[in-house]
C-alpha cells in the first residue's frame, strides 16, 4: 500500500495540477496583452480561445495518466538492488519525454489539422512553453515529491527537494 503521506502529497499535486492546467492556464491564454504580444489578430484570438480548453484538458489528462502510471510502477515494482533502481531513471525520462511527445502529437493530429500557418506563433508558444511547463508542473513535481518506495529519489532533483522539505 502507498504510504498515507505520499498519498496526501499526490492528491495535493493532482488538485494543484488541475487548478493550474484548467482555470489558470485558460485564463492566462485569454489574456489580451499576451495574445497581442504574439501578433495574433482578433479572428485568430477567438479561435485560439475556442481550442484552448481542449488543449489544456488533453494535456492535463495525459499528464495525470503518465504520473499515475509512474507512481503505480514505483509502488508495485520490486527492486533487489540500488543499481536496478537507478536504471529506472531512464524509464522516468521516457515517461516525461513520451508525455511531451504525446501532447505535441495530439495538438497536431486533432487541433491544428486545418490551421495552416495562421497560428505559427501560437503553435510555437504552446509547444515550446505551455507543454514543457505542463510536464514540469503536472508530471515532474508530483513524481519528485510523491514517488513511493525505492524509487522515491529517482526523478531529477527529487533527492535534494525531498530531503530539504523532509518528505
Amino acid at each position: 500500500m502507498i504510504k498515507k503521506k505520499s498519498l496526501l502529497i499526490l492528491t495535493f499535486f493532482v488538485l494543484v495540477g488541475f487548478a493550474y492546467a484548467i482555470p489558470i492556464q485558460q485564463q492566462l491564454l485569454a489574456n489580451p496583452e499576451l495574445i497581442a504580444s504574439l501578433g495574433v489578430n482578433t479572428y485568430q484570438s477567438v479561435w485560439i480561445q475556442s481550442i484552448m480548453p481542449s488543449v489544456t484538458y488533453a494535456s492535463w489528462i495525459c499528464s495525470l495518466f503518465s504520473m499515475l502510471f509512474w507512481i503505480y510502477s514505483a509502488q508495485t515494482g520490486l527492486f533487489v538492488s540500488s543499481k536496478q533502481a537507478l536504471l529506472t531513471r531512464l524509464t522516468w525520462w521516457i515517461y516525461a519525454l513520451g508525455l511531451y511527445a504525446l501532447m505535441v502529437i495530439f495538438l497536431y493530429a486533432f487541433i491544428f489539422t486545418n490551421s495552416g500557418n495562421v497560428a505559427t506563433e501560437i503553435q510555437y508558444f504552446i509547444v515550446l512553453f505551455v507543454f514543457p511547463v505542463n510536464v514540469i508542473v503536472l508530471f515532474w513535481l508530483p513524481t519528485a515529491l510523491a514517488t513511493p518506495g525505492t524509487l522515491r529519489y529517482i526523478p531529477p532533483l527529487a533527492f535534494s527537494i525531498r530531503r530539504k522539505l523532509g518528505v
Binding site: 527492486f79 540500488s82 536496478q84 537507478l86 525505492t150
Partner: protein
Amino acid sequence: MTRIIAIGIGGSGAKCIESLSFVHSIGLLGSATLGTLLIDADAANGNGDRTSRRLALAEKLHTNFSEGTSSFAQGDFHNFGIWNPLKDIENSTNLSSIFKRESMRSSNPELAYLMDYLYTAEERSADLKVGFRGKPPIGAAIMGRVNSNDLGTAEDSVWSKIYDFIEVGIRDGGNKEPVIIHLFGSIFGGTGAAGVPTIGRLIDDELKVRGLRDCARVCATPLLPYFSFAKPEDDQCSVFAESQLFGINSQAALDYFTEHSDGVFDCVYLIGNTQRTDYKPATGGALQNNDSHFIELYAALSAAHSLEHGSVNNLTVSYISRQSSSNILWSDLPPGVTSKSCVEYFQKAVLLSSSWYFNFSLELDSAIALGARKFCKGAPWFIRFYSLSKSGNSSRPSITNKSQIEQAKILTMWSLEFLIWASQISLSGGNGEELFGLSKLNLKSEINSNESRKYLNSLDGLIRDMVLPSKVNHFTIDALKNNLADLNIINKVGTQGLAHAIFDNCPS
C-alpha cells in the same frame, strides 16, 4: 549480569557449544554473558576446528554488535579457546607410554596386569592424538589423570581465567544473578563420557575451595546416542568408535557418571534421539567434521533453561520430547530465557542473515564502488545509517570508514556460518528439510567473489512447519529496505545500527 561458562568436551560437546554460540547471538540467552571453552585431546578435530572458527567469529560479532537496540548479539561473549588434557604429555600419545607400562611391569606388576586385562594391545598402542577414538574406557583413563592442579592455579592458564570470570560474575551479580557452569559432551564416545563427570567434579571441588560453590550452578548436558557411522576407512588401526556399541557405552558411561558426579551437578539434561543420523566415518582429525544436528540445538537450549530453572544444591533431571518421532516442529523446541519463543528469534535471525548475506552486504560493496551520493538515490534506506560524505559526519559514519567495512565483513561471515549451520540442522532429522527451508539459497561453505552470490529479494519459505502471518510469507527485502527508510527514529547508525534495525524490523 548473568554469566554462563559453557564447556564443550570432545567433538559432540564442541558442536553443542557451536549451537550455543548461535543461540546466544540471536538473543535466546537474553543479555547473559557467555564464556566458552572446548576440551579436546584432538585439537585438529574437524568439529572442534570448525567450532573454534565460529566461536572466534561470534566473539568478534558480539564485540562489534552487542550495543544495539535489538536482541541481536546482545550480551558479551568470551572465547576461552581450547584446553587439551594431553598437553602436558610430550611424545607419549598412547596409553602404554602415558601410563609408563614398561616401567610399571617391574615397579607394579599387578597394576600392569590389570591394565593388560582392561585394554587390548591395540587400545594400549593406539595413537591418541586423534582423540580417544570413541572409547569411553580410554577417555576414562586419560581424564582420570586430570586433577585439580591441571585445572590450574597458574595465573596464565585458561582455567585461572575461567575462575576469574566466575568470580567477577558472582561479585557483580551480588548473588542475585546466577553464574552457571554448563558442561556438554556425548556420553557414548571417548572424551565426553569420562570428561563430563570428571571435569564437573574438579570444577565443583575448586569452587568449594574458593568458597564460590554456593553462588554458582554446575549443570551438565550429557548427550545420549544420536548418530552412527560405519568403520572409518581412513584408519589402519583397529581401535575406532563403533556405533553398535554406543548403547552399551552409554549404559556404562551413565553408571560412571552417577558414581563420579554424586552431588556435583545442580541440573542435568540427558538428550538423545532414537533415530540415529548417519555420519561419514572418521577417526578424529580434520575428517571428523560432522554436520550440525538438532539434538545439539536442544542441548544448547538446555543452557537457556538452566538460566532460569534449577536451584543450587537441588539436583534436577529434566526431560523433553517431541510430538512425533518422525519429524521435528518448532513447537517441539523449548523456549529461550523469559519463555521467549524459539521460532520468533530464529525467524528474525534467518531473515537477517539471508538478507544480509544475499543483499545488504552486496549493496554496501556497491555503495563503496558507486560512491554514496550516487548509490543512495536508488537506496533510500542508506542515508538513514550512513553519511554521504567520505569522511562521515558527527551523526553518521561513512561506509568507506574502516571500522564500518570491518563490521560489515564480520556480519557477512557470521551470516554465512549461521545459514550453513541452520541448513545442516534442518536436514539432520533425515526427513528432508525441517524447521528451516534454506536449500533454495544454494549455500557454499566459503565466501568467494561477489559475482558468485546472486541478489536475493524474496524471503518466502525460509521458515518451515509454521503457519506465519501473510506479511511474513510474502516478505521481500525491498519491502524491508523501505521499512528501514521510513523509520521515524534511528537509535543506532552505521553497520551496527543497520543490522539491529533489520533484526527489529523483520516480521515475526
